[in-house]
Subunit: 124 residues, 2 copies
């Protein structure tokens, strides 16, 4: 186990089934990066919160954390809520280097994968 953690940050929902896809991504990442800590955290409705996940990763020795916001697009949650959380967590864990990846809707290859899937599913 090295000092690197990847935390997938999702919105959360009341329905427990909602978390399933994030668990799939977590397992795929963990299999590809057996030495990193790979966690899922939620903004609301589900546990752990992002603060808890970061604190747990820190307690387990993480010094570099990459936050991956698994949100469709940039809106209030990523522009307003997440920066406030990150500011707070940087105060709580000054020893940790924290990096935030873009929203998945800002990633051309993911948008293309969605487009390709719709094209396959709507074939003439």
């Amino acid at each position: 186990m090295n000092d690197k953690a990847i935390i997938l940050f999702a919105h959360g929902a009341r329905d427990p089934e909602w978390a399933a896809p994030f668990g799939v991504i977590q397992k795929q990442l963990q299999a590809a990066r057996p030495d990193a800590m790979v966690e899922v955290a939620f903004l609301e409705f589900m546990a752990p919160s992002l603060e808890t996940a970061v604190a747990q990763s820190a307690a387990r020795g993480a010094r570099r954390i990459v936050l991956v916001p698994l949100f469709m697009a940039q809106g209030g949650h990523l522009k307003r809520d997440l920066p406030l959380l990150v500011e707070k967590m940087r105060e709580q864990h000054p020893q940790i280097e924290m990096r935030i990846m873009p929203a998945i809707g800002d990633v051309p290859e993911i948008l293309q994968a969605i487009t390709d899937w719709v094209l396959r599913g709507t074939g003439a």
Copy 2:
């Protein structure tokens, strides 16, 4: 223009920038399917609503509509809100064949695309 419409159905948000990725997917689909109507519709905060988009597609001659829920995962919005909307729209437009694709979190190749992107972005 044939009788087929593809309607991308997204959550919506107060921030206008939030809609941008769905516009990118719409343009990519429209370029690949110049004969189909490709629209974006929203559950809340943004226009048009799904009902409005379906009514407009129907008025323009759509007889087969594929609804593509661009939601990260299956929760209350797709399990409860969308079926109620679809039932209502089927009563309003009995001549239209309406098909619903899964949530993007249920599509293995999209989850894999997300995993691959995180791996590239967190390279050792």
